[in-house]
């Protein structure tokens, strides 16, 4: 019930900080009475509001299955064991889960082995995101488990959504203070990057895959789109009806050259796969952008103002990844 405030999109960063601070304070003030021990007694539950409504979730559930890539990093930090996870879409970012044979592999979201979830007899399933389509099936197949979906909702402010999910995780796994610190870290990183931005430089966001460049629209474009809104960046090129899918829009190098961006933020979608053995046809983003003849006179290239997202960004996309991205952007802006 304390989370009711986060259901509405919060427009102002300040409001967000205030709200989440208030939220944590209220949660803290109410919890000590029931959690005098470090470990809450079995049966304690917390009421959270996920994307589908209010759910009572056991605090520190014994058997956890997580499917949403947004949560792995946080769970790793908190040393939460998982009974099963979709190792096929986790790359090599979380070896603690993917290399652990005790963690059952559910495969990828395209070919999920949902039975493995049932076999694990979980108390809590963190579903959603890439597994959004399987939500109903998972819920039906696991009547004894609590199924939650706390992935960022479409159309909402991504940063608030990330913090919301993180706060909920904190409540469930009794790490509220850490969750709050992480949320504050994101706000801080955003504020820092905002401050470092001169307010007028134009920015173009692209992704690269298979040797091709895609345009990521401000706001809606995969991964980088939300950065524009969060930092108030001036887009080098803004087109009505741009695509919000993971491929972006087919754009030629000359169109990028024509828009003459001061900065380019690039997501290399292939980077997380076989990074040590990447093949020529899927030239890394650096080769496609900085090495492009057509772009050699664009300010972003001549001044070296290109920000490459972490190789694993496409897999993580969580609050930690964005915090790091904003810190990276701040450093780049400050150095320019």
């Amino acid at each position: 019930m304390t989370l009711r405030t986060s259901r509405k999109p919060r427009l102002l960063g300040l409001a967000a900080i205030a709200a989440s601070a208030a939220l944590v304070l209220s949660a803290c003030s109410s919890s000590p009475s029931e959690e005098t021990d470090a470990k809450p007694e079995a049966g304690a539950t917390v009421s959270i509001t996920d994307n589908f409504g209010t759910v009572d979730v056991p605090v520190n559930p014994e058997t956890v299955v997580a499917l949403d890539n947004h949560v792995f990093e946080t769970l790793t930090e908190w040393d939460i064991d998982l009974a099963a996870a979709p190792k096929g879409i986790m790359g090599s970012v979380w070896p603690g889960y993917t290399d652990n044979d005790d963690v059952v592999d559910i495969g990828s979201h395209r070919e999920p082995n949902l039975e493995a979830i049932v076999a694990a007899q979980p108390d809590l399933i963190i579903a959603g995101y890439r597994f959004g389509d399987s939500y109903d099936d998972i819920k039906k197949q696991n009547p004894d488990a609590v199924v939650i979906d706390i992935a960022p909702r479409e159309g909402e402010d991504l940063m608030s959504e990330l913090k919301r999910g993180n706060t909920i995780l904190g409540q469930i796994f009794d790490h509220e203070e850490e969750a709050e610190a992480t949320n504050a870290g994101l706000d801080e990183a955003i504020a820092g990057a905002k401050e470092a931005y001169n307010g007028s430089d134009t920015v173009m966001a692209v992704n690269t895959s298979g040797g091709k460049i895609g345009y990521l629209a401000p706001g809606v474009g995969r991964s980088v789109g939300p950065v524009f809104g969060a930092l108030g960046l001036v887009p080098a090129l803004e087109v009505e009806g741009a695509s919000s899918d993971h491929q972006g829009d087919d754009i030629s190098v000359e169109a990028i050259a024509a828009s003459n961006p001061e900065w380019i933020i690039a997501l290399d979608r292939d980077a997380s796969f076989a990074p040590e053995e990447r093949e020529e046809g899927s030239a890394p983003a650096a080769e496609l952008i900085a090495g492009s003849e057509a772009l050699k006179n664009v300010p972003a290239v001549t001044k070296g103002n290109i920000i490459y997202l972490d190789a694993n960004f496409y897999l993580t996309e969580d609050i930690h990844a964005y915090t790091e991205l904003f810190e990276q952007i701040q450093a780049a802006f400050a150095a320019a």
């Binding site: 040797g211 091709k212 020529e280």
Partner: protein
């Protein structure tokens, strides 16, 4: 012949081709005999030759105009100083050259495929050849990611060859009751292979890369990234050299063998050419659906079935179609681009269905 010449002189690209085409159908078959009787018929051949050259010249001009247009369509203002002029050489010229090479090669290899299978509805995409090429491409990414562009093309072409041969062998073993069964078999084979490709891509987390790779698009064609496409120019040239043999092979194994031709050799050579064209274009630009199907069909409808005299038309037609589609793709969503395969798919489907319907009503 006079009629032809004047109508060609009207400058309308479409009609003269059709009119002269009608009269040509009769001339085509005995052409080689005309050539042998050249001294006797010399007086008559001269005007005939001119009549044959006129429509082709007009069509060439039209295609040249399209290519020139292609050079001037784009987001960057190429009239803008030194950089603009340079941009012309960095992106526009390579792109236009790539359109020419790919268009001509895919149309010519579509024709070869149709002659060799004696079926109008076969090309690289409806025989599963491109699917095999893409399977080869994916395997290089999985097994030897550092093999480079050339190695990738070799493997891709090799797979395309295996696929095309498998298709031919299956065709030989079955009783074909309808011409439409042949492309159906090809599409079926292609579906099986592409299912395998998808499966492997999912297993190795390459699905997104595969999607981008195979989407036929000239967007990423810039100086330094397309030059290997010149290989298909050689393919097209070889098709020209083998044209007569391919025509004879197109009459079937019995006829071909009875005139003393090594049918199997031509079959394999033709298939190899198609495979190289499909393999290389798949690696460099991606799938170009319907191109090899639509162009030969339209040309055959207009002009009959002689491979050698049709070949220039195939090449021009292929270039024209792929260029128009690419220009459309560049203009429709400016400054973004719609992949040429998407436009080609739509245009091609409409033309293909029209050909089918017309064929039906005539039969």
């Amino acid at each position: 012949m006079n009629v032809n010449r004047t109508s060609a002189g009207n400058g309308d690209g479409g009609t003269p081709a059709r009119e002269s085409g009608r009269s040509r159908v009769r001339q085509v078959a005995p052409r080689s005999s005309i050539a042998t009787a050249l001294p006797d018929a010399a007086g008559e051949i001269a005007p005939e030759k001119r009549a044959r050259v006129w429509p082709l010249a007009v069509a060439t001009l039209v295609v040249a105009a399209l290519l020139a247009l292609s050079l001037f369509v784009g987001v960057y203002d190429i009239t803008d100083g030194e950089l603009g002029a340079e941009m012309m050489w960095i992106t526009r010229v390579p792109r236009t050259v790539a359109l020419m090479l790919a268009g001509a090669a895919m149309a010519a290899s579509g024709l070869v495929m149709q002659m060799l299978t004696q079926n109008r509805f076969v090309d690289a995409t409806t025989s599963g050849t491109t699917e095999w090429a893409s399977l080869g491409l994916l395997l290089t990414a999985i097994v030897a990611p550092s093999v480079g562009l050339v190695g990738r093309m070799v493997v891709s072409s090799l797979f395309a060859f295996i696929g095309a041969m498998a298709f031919m062998l299956i065709l030989r073993r079955i009783v074909i009751r309808s011409t439409l069964v042949v492309p159906l078999i090809g599409i079926m084979l292609g579906a099986v292979i592409s299912a395998l490709t998808t499966f492997l891509a999912v297993q190795f987390n390459l699905l997104q890369m595969v999607g981008t790779w195979f989407m036929g698009s000239f967007t990423s064609v810039v100086r330094g990234r397309y030059e290997v496409l010149w290989i298909v120019a050689i393919v097209t040239l070889l098709v020209f050299l083998l044209a007569d043999r391919i025509t004879v092979a197109g009459l079937g194994r019995e006829v071909a063998t009875s005139v003393g031709m090594r049918y199997e050799t031509i079959l394999i050579a033709g298939t190899a050419l198609v495979a190289v064209a499909a393999g290389v274009t798949t690696v460099v630009v991606g799938f170009l659906p319907f191109l090899g199907l639509v162009v030969p069909n339209v040309v055959a409808t207009l002009r009959g079935d002689n491979v050698r005299s049709n070949l220039p038309w195939e090449c021009l037609g292929g270039i024209a179609l792929v260029t128009v589609c690419d220009i459309l793709g560049r203009v429709v969503r400016m400054p973004f681009e719609v992949p040429v395969s998407m436009v080609l798919g739509m245009v091609g489907a409409v033309v293909f269905i029209t050909i089918l319907m017309r064929g039906r009503s005539r039969a």
